[in-house]
Amino acid sequence: MTGKQDGLERRTRPVPRTQAPGYSGIPGWVRMLAVLAAVVVVLPLLAMVLRVDWGQFLPLVTSEPSLTALGLSLRTSAASTLLCIVLGVPLALVLARDTFRLRGLLRSLVLLPLVLPPVVGGIALLYTFGRQGLLGRTLDVFGLQIAFSTTAVVLAQTFVALPFLVVSLEGALRTSGSRYEAVAATLGARPGTVFRRVTLPLVLPGLASGAVLSFARSLGEFGATLTFAGSLQGVTRTLPLEIYLQRETDPDAAVALSLVLVAVAVAVVALAYRRPAGARPGPAGRTTAPAPPGRTVR
């Protein structure tokens, strides 16, 4: 056989994502409500930007407490994102691929922090790791005090951010299915090899966007942190806490710092939802045309 003959074979091209403009069938009033929805989100942000004292912006943002808070926020968020990856990848894998009783219950419980008021999470953490808490008492014996430390900040952030990574990764795992893993196993690859060389690379885009979302959620964490870690400058006072504190004394500084967080959030969302051309394989990475209709029993 030659390349020429191969050229006869039909090429399956990826379906273009952008649709040609056509009839959409959306009623006019739905469009109006959609615009209203966008306004609800965008208008407050605009109002805040309009309130920024640009002359004082740089000095306010680069003041010593601001920089300390920003540095702490970035460090703790990075740590909690790492923790989310280390713990969230196995959890997502088990939820997506294993079949066991109470899986549904486990998933619901793990996703609870998504809908739980963060301050409730903080209280729960306090009764776990606090000095009088479930584990705190034992840890105290070993001279470990977690509550109101930087570790507590990381724990609080991990608690609220973990579901973001798990949800996003579990979705990616379900979409890609386990057929590649089955093929890899029949080719002689042990589970460890399959995980490293097949599963992880296939869901890397999902893992990346999950990690970015977790990082963003960690960066914005307020309620659980304040409850469980307090507000000690340089130790537990992250940027959101600093903003809340400044609001009382120096509203201009609060607004300026808020804008910094908005900028970070915009960057994060752009990073998480961008689709680099060709970098993301189709869900199943299909390389063949679907079975022709003639595939029935003759």
């Binding site: 056989m1 390349g3 590649y180 196993a185 299909r286 063949t288 045309a289 029993v297």
Partner: protein
């Protein structure tokens, strides 16, 4: 060098015992849902049967019958599986896909790549080595998938409809490739195409409802089918019933005369048997004609369809091939009651 397999899966009504001899390629055919894929998954270790045992070349694959239950995971079975879709790892290029098996077996990167290139050359796809799977056509991708399966050095190759998803241009090329690589190789191939069974397999196994309906050398099964599925594959009319002299009495009480293929043996009336005849031996009449030795069945036409240069007249499970002119003369249309007439000499009768 033998595969012996016996397993039951209650939930799927699956109960099959199968042996594949050294160097033998067995085609597994059957209607959808007959348990063909269950069979391969059970051998490959992707599905755990309720009971049964299997051995490949003296190694136990699983043994779920005795007190000591053994279960060898898929990665230790030496049974590479090639599916309808190539399932090339999309994040690896072609040569790394093919090198996956050798790498998993512990070969170094350079050595694995060298082996991969050898297998790519074997399937005439070495010029694709640097490509990504998305840059391949369906036929090219399946070709690479064949190389990947072979590179894993399997003792038994499992092929699950490997040609079904290919377009009409690529399928013949791939079939030729399979003919070459399957020669002298122990393999099981699931197929819907009787051509695959004839060209690629030494033996065919017909699965129906999770059981083996019949098995034997491909030619013999097609010439003397004992299951309605095999008769359908061979394009023959198939009337099961009980032997009655030189004929078969069907469950509907129809008496079909034919010539006894097992002439010389003692006639065994009452034994299950079949009457088989090709649609081309059937004539269609508007009224009943008498004259021995002929069979005449009053039937209602269900369908008329083109069949080569003939018209195939279908009436339930029976079919007749007549010329378009004859069809027009008779004014045939679905719903009409006609008589299918076939000479006894054209009907083969044998026990099942």
């Amino acid at each position: 060098m033998t595969l012996s397999f016996q397993a039951a899966v209650a939930a799927r009504g699956f109960d099959v015992a199968l042996t594949v001899r050294p160097g033998e390629t067995v085609a597994v055919m059957g209607p959808n849902g007959a348990g063909k894929s269950t069979l391969l998954a059970g051998i490959a270790g992707l599905l755990r049967p309720d009971s049964g045992s299997a051995e490949l070349n003296g190694r136990t694959l699983f043994d779920l019958d005795g007190g000591k239950r053994t279960w060898v995971p898929p990665y230790h079975r030496g049974t590479a599986l090639l599916a309808q879709e190539p399932l090339l790892f999309p994040h690896l290029n072609v040569v790394d896909n093919v090198a996956f098996g050798p790498r998993s077996a512990g070969a170094g990167n350079a050595e694995a790549k060298e082996q991969a290139m050898r297998w790519l050359a074997e399937v005439e796809a070495d010029q694709l080595a640097g490509r990504r799977p998305v840059e391949l056509s369906g036929g090219q991708a399946q070709r690479v998938a064949v190389a990947r399966a072979l590179a894993a050095d399997p003792e038994l190759l499992l092929l699950d409809e490997p040609l079904a998803a290919l377009d009409i241009h690529s399928a013949p090329l791939l079939r030729r490739l399979f003919k070459r690589v399957l020669a002298g190789r122990q393999a099981i191939i699931i197929t819907h195409d009787v051509l695959d069974a004839l060209m690629l397999a030494d033996r065919v196994v017909i699965l129906e409802d999770g059981r083996i309906a019949e098995e034997g050398p491909t030619r013999a099964v097609l010439e003397r089918p004992r299951s309605s599925f095999a008769a359908g594959l061979a394009g023959l009319n198939f009337l099961p019933g009980t032997l009655d002299g030189a004929g078969v009495r069907t469950r509907d009480g129809l008496k079909v005369s034919g010539h006894d293929e097992e002439a010389g043996q003692l006639p065994m009336p009452g034994r299950p048997g079949v009457a088989v005849f090709p649609p081309s031996a059937v004539s269609v009449f508007l009224s009943d004609t008498h004259g021995s030795p002929r069979n005449s069945f009053a039937v209602t036409i269900t369908d008329l369809e083109p069949h080569g240069d003939q018209v195939r007249v279908r009436a339930g499970s029976l079919a007749a091939d007549i010329t378009p002119a004859a069809s027009a003369d008779l004014g045939l249309a679905p719903g009409m009651t006609v008589h299918f007439v076939v000479k006894a000499a054209a009907v083969s009768v044998y026990g099942t």
